[in-house]
């Protein structure tokens, strides 16, 4: 049985699948892969069920070793992956020989890389998911020395070699991005000027950005009155505005409820792009209707 050994976790390496749904009424964050597009393409390439668990590798320093032969694919951010010292092309499958070592170096584009192994990862579920949720230490924590077993693939490894994604389906990660949002539900907590500021200013990701949420820096957004609401549920991409007027975008490991007004919500189709943004990158927001947001999804068929 092939095992992936975590030699170094680097900045942050976690196991993620589709996420943990059904328990938000108990305060359990859905978690799951931040970039659901890269996640699914990685699995598609290696012949796995699309939502199989993968390694989500964030920024720098991760090093992995394979105990035996396997087939993998790497998608998402280009973190200069090398296999046994040689540059490893992304968005395609590779046959990995026994004892090979995969390392990551300089960050070229994006923030999070996804590693899928043909067969998927042999890990127990907790509340229907293999995703790791740091706040409650749910799921398999990856420490230096951790050994993760790969399940037996359904197809023979040879049949998976040479599969690749055509360039037109490989996203470009830029350091200035435009993110579409649906306004509300508490956009009425802001003045007309406040809304205008939100939709016309450039906001920068501060270093306080992680799987829980992204804190942005930029022009303060003006409140019409109260700056707190009666706490209620949020979702992936909810943009809260706390008292200081600077947006916080709620991400995969977000808390399930919040007491700040939500000016808008990032559309599902733009979450993968947002997941690849890192501190120093800038965002501009564009308002779209729910109908438009949902038709975009149908076109790209998430």
């Amino acid at each position: 049985m092939t095992e992936i050994k975590v030699l170094k976790t680097g900045t942050q390496t976690t196991i993620q699948d589709r996420g943990r749904y059904g328990f938000q009424s108990y305060g359990v964050s859905p978690s799951g892969a931040m970039d659901s597009y890269a996640h699914r393409i990685a699995n598609l390439l290696v012949g796995n069920n699309l939502f199989e668990a993968v390694f989500e590798i964030c920024l720098s320093g991760c090093e992995l070793e394979f105990s035996d032969d396997c087939v993998i694919a790497l998608t998402g951010a280009n973190l200069s992956p090398t296999l046994n010292g040689l540059s490893l092309p992304m968005w395609r499958t590779h046959f990995i020989q026994k004892h090979s070592r995969l390392s990551f170096g300089r960050i070229i584009t994006g923030c999070r890389s996804y590693l899928a192994a043909a067969g998927g990862l042999d890990l127990p579920t907790f509340l229907n998911s293999q995703s790791y949720y740091e706040r409650a230490d749910i799921g398999q924590k990856l420490k230096n020395g951790a050994l993760i077993e790969i399940k037996k693939p359904k197809a023979p490894l040879n049949s998976l070699i040479g599969r690749l994604i055509p360039p037109k389906h490989i996203p470009l990660y830029k350091s200035n991005i435009n993110i579409r949002v649906i306004m509300g539900p508490q956009d009425d907590y802001f003045t007309e000027q406040g809304i205008k500021t939100f939709l016309s200013s450039k906001y920068t990701l501060t270093k306080d950005c992680d799987r829980m949420g992204y804190r942005l820096e930029g022009k303060k957004i003006e409140f019409a009155g109260a700056s707190e609401i009666i706490s209620d549920s949020l979702t992936l991409g909810s943009i809260q505005i706390p008292g200081n007027g600077k947006p916080i975008i709620m991400m995969a490991d977000r808390q399930t409820t919040g007491g700040y007004p939500k000016i808008a919500n990032v559309i599902t189709a733009d979450i993968p792009l947002l997941a690849q943004a890192k501190p120093g990158d800038s965002i501009e927001f564009t308002s779209v209707s729910v109908r438009e947001a949902q038709s975009v999804l149908k076109i790209i068929r998430y």
Binding site: Y21, G22, F23, Q24, S25, Y26, G27, V28, S29, F126, L127, R135, A136, D137, I138, I182, G184, P185, I230, S231, D232, S233, L234, T235, L236, G237, S238, Q255, T256, T257, K262, N265, V266, I267, T268, V290, R291, A293, Q294, L297, K298, R301, Y302
Partner: protein, 230 residues
């Protein structure tokens, strides 16, 4: 209970969720209506709904836009009769929470009592007398948003939140009291600790001690009894 006939406002929360909001103050009656409404929506078995989460006076429906559009969901939801059930007597589920007040488990108890201009004993009596209502669970796994704190015990939050508050800590902040189910940063005053696990990840079949609609009663115990609950 009087028949409440306030219709909720329906608002999109992005493209994969919808929030129903009852324009009202916080009260256990409205909260019951919210939870009953969540049950009604669930019973309608609308294809595409992933989960329904109640809060103080809102509920949020999480759905898959591949299975149902916003308009379709909206049109199904407005057909549901959300008026409250007449004379429905529900049994109170009161969960007793043993607490060791003060000492090493409640570092801020003395300060809190002094701030509220009362003795530590009186503070403990006032904190442990009410049956607190659990409005919702959120913020972190198992964390209850409680109603019913005596206004004589209101204390502003810490100016500088603690980096770590131990698991099980019972605390007061602003007009709220609560229990930290997990070790966490925290800006509330720590007055005691419970040995009970509000979130037990070792018990996958029943990991959560509390749910929305429960009541809790804090029961003072001696420090030496803390380990009786292992």
């Amino acid at each position: 209970m009087e028949n409440i006939v306030i219709k909720p406002l329906i608002k999109p929360l992005g493209d994969s969720a919808v929030t129903l909001e009852w324009p009202s103050d916080i009260s256990p009656e409205i909260n019951l209506l919210v939870r009953e409404s969540a049950r009604k929506i669930d019973s309608a078995k609308i294809y595409g709904i992933i989960e329904i989460v109640p809060a103080y006076r809102t509920l949020t429906i999480f759905y898959s836009p591949f299975d149902i559009s916003y308009e379709q969901l909206h049109d199904r939801v407005i057909l549901i009769d959300f008026s409250s059930e007449k004379t429905r007597k529900t049994e109170k589920n009161i969960v007793r929470i043993p607490v060791v007040y003060g000492g090493e488990y409640g570092a801020d108890l003395a300060y809190a009592a002094e701030f509220c201009k009362m003795s530590i004993d009186d503070f403990i009596i006032l904190h442990s007398s009410p049956e607190y209502f659990v409005y919702m669970i959120g913020f972190m796994p198992g964390f209850p948003y409680l109603g019913g704190l005596d206004e004589r015990l209101y204390i502003p939050r810490l100016q500088k939140p603690r980096v770590t508050v131990p698991q099980g800590s019972v605390a007061i902040g602003g007009v709220m009291t609560g229990i930290y189910p997990l070790k966490s940063p925290g800006g509330w005053h720590i007055i005691g600790r419970t040995p009970l696990k509000l979130f037990d990840k070792k018990n996958e079949s029943k990991p959560f001690l509390l749910k929305a609609g429960d009541y809790i009663k804090f029961v003072p115990i001696e420090e030496r009894s803390f380990t009786d609950y292992d």
